[in-house]
Symmetry: C2
């Protein structure tokens, strides 16, 4: 058997320091996203019309927080510091939330569903370019735990009762998408390692411009599907 | 083997409807206390001076929320509705939080430590008068998960740096104790089943006035110990 040294434990992909830095970046942004989602959901829970709704949102918040620890552990294993890894992404994610503060309970629900859905689709797309262990970790960090059904039901209920809300909420969905793209672009421009990840390496496939275009088409298509599920135009 | 009927599954204590109602009440008040602690801790996390502190408080919040599900499950098993069981205690617990809104991060930490400690001591005292299954559930619902050490360290640090805060924070601790007693009394006055629990039954020991007095002495002693651990007079 091979002796267990730290190098033997590390998959070959991580011997490339640029790749390692990119993965630490990626786990850092996902981790800060979870903290931030926890905060936002806990805040929105206050707007809940009933105690049942409040508990449903608090459950979503706790689920987001529960995903933090495995991400932090992995960053540490890769020789990173979890808090240092999250720091570069605070501004972009905080700005996203600042610019998309829900005006009411319903906007909060839609943001939880549409915003998280979009971010999770994006991370799942990126996961395809990762080593298998990191890919599994990322995919499990963005799995929906069945909370989405609660949101869909509540939003459809409201629109059925008061169809006039549909127009306002459709606009809200577009604003969420626009703000998410703005902040994602900002992160891509600032974090070279993360962008390099998508460009590929000697042992990893990368994305050319046409492939990036197709990825964005898939992301916007899925956004439109989610809006349709809520009973809203996109 | 005995056929499994719903009655065969229920311990003998629960054949007394007053006891059953009292246990549903007790689990209801503990459950609402957890939701409420979740909300308050998530709110206080916003005041955290660092991201590390924020994560520590969010972890406490998620831990509180995680205790909700077993309580709700048990209420359902006893034939109760979890939300109906929590409802009678919302006013008292909400009032407690309204009257003890922390002015800053440090007051929030102390409230988390001293307030939860007091409530948990009280539930542990009551647990002694319960059937074994319920007792185990209650005791596991109020276990500290090592978060207290974080609070003690942070508060002691601050007082060491700025001893003048000690007087204000000692007053804050007294206010927490006073408000907790006020609301506990209110609950006791309104919930006959819960009070009957402490008075005992044919197959369960109860508390006479002298025993209640001794219980209160134990609770205030432990409150004083906690304040001393924080480096504060009580």
């Amino acid at each position: 058997m091979a002796e267990s040294t730290s190098d033997a434990d590390v998959p070959v992909a991580f011997q490339d320091p640029v790749y390692r830095a990119a993965v630490v970046d990626l786990l850092g942004v996902i981790a800060y996203g979870e903290i931030s989602a926890f905060e936002r959901l806990a805040e929105d829970a206050k707007l809940a019309p009933t105690l049942e709704d409040k508990v449903a949102l608090a459950a979503m918040a706790s689920a987001e927080f529960g995903r933090l620890e495995p991400l932090h552990r992995r960053i540490t294993e890769l020789g990173g510091d979890p808090f240092a890894a999250m720091a570069p992404f605070r501004a972009a994610i905080d700005q996203f939330h600042l610019h998309t503060a829900p005006a009411d309970w319903l906007e909060g629900l839609i943001k939880a569903y549409v915003g998280d859905g979009l971010a999770n689709d994006f991370y799942r797309e990126i996961a395809a370019y990762l080593d298998p262990d990191t890919r599994d970790l990322v995919v499990s960090s963005v799995e929906d735990e069945g909370h989405a059904a609660f949101v869909v039901e509540r939003v459809r209920q409201t629109i059925a009762t008061d169809p006039s809300t549909g127009g306002r909420l459709a606009l809200w969905g577009r604003r969420l998408m626009g703000e998410a793209l703005t902040q994602a672009q900002r992160v891509a421009a600032e974090r070279d390692a993360l962008s390099a990840l998508l460009a590929g390496g000697v042992d990893r496939p990368g994305l050319d411009l046409a492939a990036i275009g197709r990825m964005f088409t898939r992301l916007t298509d899925r956004h439109a599907e989610r809006m349709a599920e809520l009973g809203l135009d996109s």
